[in-house]
Amino acid sequence: MKGKAHQARTLAAALLAALAGASLARAATAEECQSLRKHGHRDQANACFQSLTQAREPAIRAEGFWGLEMYQDANNEFRTAVAQSAASANYRIRWGRLLHERFNNKDAADLFQEAIQRDPKNAQAYLGLAQVSADGFDNKAVEEAKKAIELDPKLVEAHELMANLALEDSDTKVAAAEAEEALKISSDALDAMAIHAAIEVLADRSPDAWLAKVRQVNPSYGEAYALVAHHLFLNRRYDDAVAYYRKAVEADPKLWSARSELGINLMRLGQTEEPLQQLEMCYDNGYRDAATVNSLRLLDSYKNFLTFRDDRSIIRLHKKEAELLLPYVQTEVDRSIATYEKKYKMKLPDRVQVELYPDHEDFAVRTLGMPGLGGILGVTFGEVLAMDSPSGRPPGTYQWGSTLWHEMSHVFILTATNHRVPRWFTEGLSVHEETQVSPEWGDRVTPEILVAIRDKKLLPVAELERGFVRPEYPTQVIVSYFQAGRLLDYIKDRWGDDKILDMVHSFAQLKTTPETIQQNLGMSPEEFDKQFLEWLYKDLGKTAASFDEWRNHLKELAELAKEKNWDEVLKKGDEVLQMYPDYVEGANPYEFLAEAHIAKGEKKAAAQVLTQYEKIGGRSTEALKELASLEQEAEDPKGAAATLERINYIYPMDEDLHRKLCDLWFDQNNPAADVRECNAVLAMHPLDQASAQFDVARAYFAAGEPDQARNHLLASLEAAPGYRPAQKLLLQLEDSQKGK
């Protein structure tokens, strides 16, 4: 409220006058020093904090050191204060706030909990917990912030935090209301003003009025710009985020958190030099949070990567696998660009940068600056996309080709909408596109998705965004991806691809999800939800309803397979398979049935069931290799080659796979594929250089490239001069040259 802000400014002015007069009739308080800083009087605030360090009470000295950025001293003083006053909740809260600011969320949360034990109605303790939870996008943040407000409705920071959380969830209405509430309580609530500014920026309106108000209170309050930048980042507007982070550090060059984010976001845009400068500056000035340190390490590791450029793409691969992966990655990059250009009727203005990380933690750091990220496989930052390399995950758990096409769709849609597209739509379209490349690609319906369908946990389309940003249950992100994908499948089935493009254009014009649905599909979001769910339940309702029964049957089947009771496996397996045909994860009926058929010598039947597994999207490289062997035995080399080629999109780091393909393509007189696969063997630096080099030579010879063939033959015979097949080909080459 105006009164309170006026009081604060008056107090700051009085304090300033006192400090200017060199002596104080009384000692300053921490709140007074903080108020000076909040209002941009940095030097005076420092003098004020300096005075606090001389106080008799350790808690006050702690506040002084904290204000002077002498964090270790502050930490020590708080420790002393807490030891001296075991019952004090407030000391713990302030200490917790210090630790939260200095990147130690775990100990901070413990201190807030200890404070709650001592004072269960302490709003500040709940606010502290909410801030820690908010850092990790934990859904608990909202509940904790609400609790803080419930305990102290006048707690400005709690309203500001609620506003921020709501805006992260794209709930502009609540965000604006909470910011307004904060401003009613305190008219110089700077973060509330910044939230309003962010709302304006996100809506492509001018934030100038709000930012002017911020500057009126504190011209060097960089945090306001950083807050706007944070929301731009969350909305995938990376260029705009960078621009606001620049404004933040311009307003306050020592705002290291914003400078670090500036560096990290520049990395997201594919830059390396400026990020290094910015992040090193943070590090050298003591700002060493995990994201800064990890990002610096990642930048350092780029010396281990190779970059390949052409007119349309920049591909960055780790040295140890670049030679192997480049042909496959380049082919899919080119193919996806050509496909999407035609489909989305547009061209990308610049080259796409594609990065593959063999270490998932490096990918995670590339994405968020932090390790972790669990199931996330790829991420797109405008025209830069980063993803796990196939070597980054165990064989059979990841289809990198599918992920590449998924991310590439984002590149186009983000460009087409100038990054103004809700997450649910662009993710849904990307998931949809995976299966358009091949029905075998994309994720299958997993048990957690079936359970969500059975328990009716799918979100209304107008609220689907929060299923991605702030999940309410652990698997909600996966369920939301699935739902979004199926929404797009449904739109395509019913209205066609053109309608999807129309929706893209609506989002580009800043229409909301309800507006876009109404405008393009001619119905309300509620009606759309109803019709979509009818369509979905027709397909999966029965499977979802019998999920528990299926699970019990599968357990029995697994037991029978373990006991090698193959007759019973064959008797019951097909029924279990039909109940939930999409289940291709570990211990699936397809592999049990195939094993049973093989044990009984029924190879043809085993091949049939494994073919079903392959067609429905099974990814176990072992099962697919088994199928290829059966196909070869059944004199179906074409089928065997096609089966093995699928593994190239799953786990190509397999020498044996490429050797087999190299032979199969040679036998089928497919020189282009033969050259690629034989070279893949060589790229894996096999111990058996002689045969690997010979195979490449043979492939080039068949492809009509005798010079290449000769070079590889020499390499083969250099390794093993007596290698008969290479000797024969050498003589053949010699004779054919003489014949010329």
Partner: protein, 324 residues
């Protein structure tokens, strides 16, 4: 057969060029000697391991017996594995084997190491590294190879090593105690032509080690698991185990001459007196190629390539004649 000192001199020269080339010449020596294989699959403890160990021993037994040549194969696994049975097998081999024969002992299963002593787990009393060494001592074969693929097998090296005996272990020390996968790939090496890197149609112990070591590392890498076994060998009888051959320390020399199985008809021509001249020419060409490779660094690229091509073409034509 050439007198031993001459062969040794050639070995030395070739050693400088590459270990893999050695067996072409030394295989002539061992061809007439017999190889005694003793494979022991120890106690599994759990049905899965029991099955796995017996399966590996069975595979190896079949592979060796099918490979032809003068091989004497003794395999024991499952319920048959007792100290008495093990002692009996070693006693039989001690009676039969001559000094110019080769001995290969393969241990599959679990091992343990208490900081001082390695033990191979058997039903009933285990067998220690020292006891195993003592059993091998009684066998006259001068060239011996012990492939210990068990957990903690690195702890057995000190007890087993001696001059003329090569030791391969699945783990780098006695403290790597998890079950191992090395045995699987060791056996695979003996049936995969890709293990025969010099294409002389024989798999040496060094080739098999390098193949299995690579496959073991790939296994842990692909499964995204921390590697809990690091295969190593020691074949000089006087050094610490290593993971790669070295021309300086001679580690790998014995292994490179230890032929495990033959996978082709490489020796057929050697027995034909009408082809002696061609064989001599072939050997001369092989030496010329070795020399060229040795001098590669000091030559111009095109000069090296031309000379190498000429020699290889000539060698291929000689081989063509030999194969007629």
């Amino acid at each position: 057969m050439a007198p031993a000192p001459e062969v040794g001199a050639r070995v030395r020269a070739r050693w400088l060029v590459g270990l893999g080339l050695l067996c072409i010449f030394l295989s002539g020596i061992s061809a007439r000697a017999a190889t005694y294989y003793i494979t022991i699959a120890g106690l599994g403890g759990e049905p899965d391991y029991e099955q796995r160990f017996q399966g590996l021993a069975g595979d190896l037994d079949k592979l060796l017996k099918d490979s032809g040549g003068d091989l004497h194969v003794y395999t024991v696994s499952g319920k048959d594995v007792t100290r008495t049975r093990v002692n009996d097998i070693f006693a039989t081999v001690a009676r039969e084997a001559r000094s110019d024969d080769d001995l290969v002992v393969i241990l599959i299963g679990h091992g343990s190491f208490d900081g001082a002593q390695y033990k191979f787990n058997l039903p009933g009393p285990d067998i220690s590294g020292n006891e195993l060494a003592s059993l091998c001592e009684r066998i006259a074969a001068k060239r011996q190879l012990i492939v210990n693929t068990t957990s903690a097998s690195g702890g057995s090296v000190a007890a087993l090593k001696k001059s003329g005996r090569a030791i391969i272990t699945a783990t780098k020390s006695g403290t790597e105690k998890n079950a191992t996968v090395f045995a699987r790939y060791w056996i695979e090496a003996m049936r995969d032509p890709a293990a025969d890197v010099d294409k002389n149609e024989a798999i040496t112990a060094l080739e098999a080690f390098q193949y299995a070591e690579r496959k073991t590392a790939d296994f842990y890498e692909s499964q995204k698991r921390l590697a809990t076994e690091h295969p190593q060998f020691e074949d000089t009888g006087k050094s610490d185990p290593v993971r790669a051959p070295s021309t300086e320390s001679n580690e790998g020399l014995l292994l490179s001459t230890f032929t495990l199985v033959r996978i082709g008809q490489a020796q057929r021509a050697a027995a034909d007196p009408t082809k002696r001249d061609l064989l001599a020419k072939k050997e001369a060409l092989e030496q010329k190629i070795d020399k060229l490779k040795y001098e590669k660094a000091a030559m111009r690229e095109d000069e090296y390539k031309n000379q190498l091509t000429a020699a290889l073409v000539e060698l291929a034509r000689v081989q063509q004649e030999l194969d007629k």
